[in-house]
């Protein structure tokens, strides 16, 4: 149990033993820290593509099962070698650069889109003592890094000199920057209650109880996860690459490995969002059985992966179930529903903090908090949003007058 728990730390210590024997002591002491960091980087950079390969296979399998198909089942057992075949195919494809495009930006965009997705991995606490960089402002880091993706998408759309690409990239930019606001505000209550902005600190603060089991945590989780899905342009918020109207969106003019990099960034972003949802609201790597009974059953990093893959599955479930949002409804939903709800959540969390201790108070507070959340939701959906969402009711809508016959 302990050995599996500390597997990665033991591996790191073992890997450092080689240089320790070969190098002089003084030199080794100087090189110890950078060597440790480089080892961490290389582990993360191995995890990232492996995760991506596994997720592509899993998505195709899950979505296929939801549509009563088999999915990939020819290459390898259960199609398990399919991602490798796809990777080799992309690797061997011709890299077409149309004459009209701006070649420099066209090449830089797919590179730029992967870097932030990989860098998000560096603040995820995968297990006990298993965070690569324990930043004290990790939440700000996450928000700033994930918005770099906007620039990459705009670069891709603008440099392609293609109508579909440009339209899609403008839509994507508006969407990503809009959904960043509720994403940020949904994390404010988490910071308030845990008193920490480091991902590791937030997990440690949840030892008393996961945040999902509080009214504000419940609401914040919903807002965070919805905005997160929109932030990484996944279905049902994938208006940016709406294949039924915009061909392939901002990567219309991309082929071969450049297209592969966009694909990779999308999957890594989806995985990172699932990991952060687990970290902020579901106790991160904390072992729920140990928290209840005091007996550790599985290593913490296995718990973390189990929890995060539940949310990865939810992402694919969304893809298999929900139709795509229309772009104006998407932005209405963000600014006129998610943002007010996220602002409402801050006083809720403050009130929760000032609740007196005791199970009765907490229970009453829980019921009142949930009632407030549900009441606000009802007020929004019934009175205002129903009217705002409906295209037929809008005064300037062209849909209002039925098309003339004949």
């Amino acid at each position: 149990m302990e050995t599996i728990e500390n597997l990665f730390l033991t591996l790191k210590a073992l890997a450092l033993m080689g240089p320790e024997m070969l190098l002089p002591t003084a030199l080794f002491e100087a090189l110890k820290t950078p060597l440790g960091i480089i080892m961490g980087v290389s582990i993360l950079l191995v995890i990232a593509p492996v995760t991506m390969l596994f997720l592509t296979w899993m998505e195709r399998k899950v979505v296929a099962r939801m549509q009563k198909r088999y999915g990939p089942n020819r290459v390898g057992k259960f199609g398990s070698l399919q991602p490798f075949a796809d990777g080799i195919k992309m690797f061997m494809k011709e890299d077409i650069i149309p004459l009209a495009v701006d070649p420099l930006l066209h090449t830089l965009a797919p590179m730029l889109v992967v870097v932030p997705a990989v860098m998000l991995f560096s603040v995820i606490p995968f297990g006990k003592n298993m965070v690569f960089a324990d930043l004290n402002i990790a939440i700000l880091f996450i928000m700033s890094i994930s918005s770099i993706e906007t620039i990459a998408i705009l670069m891709a759309g603008w440099s392609s000199r293609n109508t579909y690409s440009l339209l899609s990239s403008l839509r994507a930019a508006a969407q990503v920057i809009s959904y960043e606001i509720p994403l940020g505000f949904s994390l404010v209550p988490v910071v308030m209650i845990s008193g920490s902005m480091s991902t590791y600190g937030i997990v440690m603060a949840q030892q008393e109880g996961w945040y999902i089991f509080t009214p504000w945590g419940f609401l914040a989780f919903l807002i965070f996860f919805i905005s997160g899905v929109a932030e990484v342009n996944r279905s049902p918020f994938d208006v940016a690459e709406a294949e039924s109207e915009l061909v392939a969106g901002f990567h219309t003019e991309y082929s071969g490995m450049k297209f592969g990099l966009f694909y990779m960034a999308e999957f890594l972003g989806g995985f990172a969002i699932s990991c952060f949802a687990v970290t902020f609201f579901f106790g991160g790597w904390l072992d729920p059985i140990q928290q209840l009974t005091g007996i550790a059953v599985l290593p913490t990093w296995i718990w973390f992966l189990l929890k995060s893959y539940v949310f990865v599955f939810v992402l694919f479930w969304f893809r298999g179930t929900l139709p795509r949002f229309r772009v104006d409804l998407l932005l209405n939903f963000c600014w006129k529903y998610l943002l007010p709800m996220a602002l409402l959540n801050i006083p809720l969390a403050a009130a929760w903090h000032y609740l007196p201790d005791g199970i009765v108070f907490k229970l009453v507070g829980w019921v009142i908090g949930m009632a407030i959340i549900f009441g606000t939701h009802q007020a929004f959906t019934h009175k205002r949003l129903k009217r705002l969402y409906s295209a037929y009711d809008r005064p300037d809508s062209s849909l209002r007058t039925a098309p003339q016959q004949g």
């Binding site: 820290t33 870097v115 960089a133 004290n136 880091f141 061909v247 490995m257 990099l261 403050a350």
Partner: protein, 120 residues
């Protein structure tokens, strides 16, 4: 773990991230075919030849969303330091933050009523 160490790690991570994203493209350079022809390198337009450049003047609506984003993201930066010290600052700071968020909410309502949040 000190913060300097953490930021050094982040810096190295970004350098390796750039290498990580460059390698597939650079590696594919040696394997991919190069058989270009005139119709392959035209911009994709569902089979037609594009007549004009898509670089047109854009609707001002995009900039309104960008402005709203700018305002609110700066507000978030003001809220986080308070949220960090929420437990030690006490109810007075909570009241002040409520006023701040109230002003913010009024700004949102103003933009809403003025139609600045409509996608046309």
């Amino acid at each position: 773990m000190t913060q300097e160490f953490a930021w050094t790690s982040i810096g190295l991570m970004s350098i390796f991230g750039v290498i990580f994203s460059t390698l597939p493209i650079a590696g594919a350079f040696f394997f991919r075919p190069r058989k270009s022809n005139a119709s392959k390198v035209t911009s994709y337009e569902c089979g037609l030849h594009p007549k004009t450049t898509p670089l047109i003047r854009l609707n001002v609506q995009y900039y309104l969303f960008a402005l709203a984003f700018l305002i609110f993201s700066i507000e978030i930066l003001y809220v986080f330091p308070w949220a960090m010290n929420f437990k030690t600052l006490g109810p007075i700071a909570l009241l002040e933050m409520a006023i701040f968020l109230g002003v913010l909410l009024m700004g949102l309502l103003y933009a809403w009523r003025k139609g600045g949040l409509e996608w046309k």
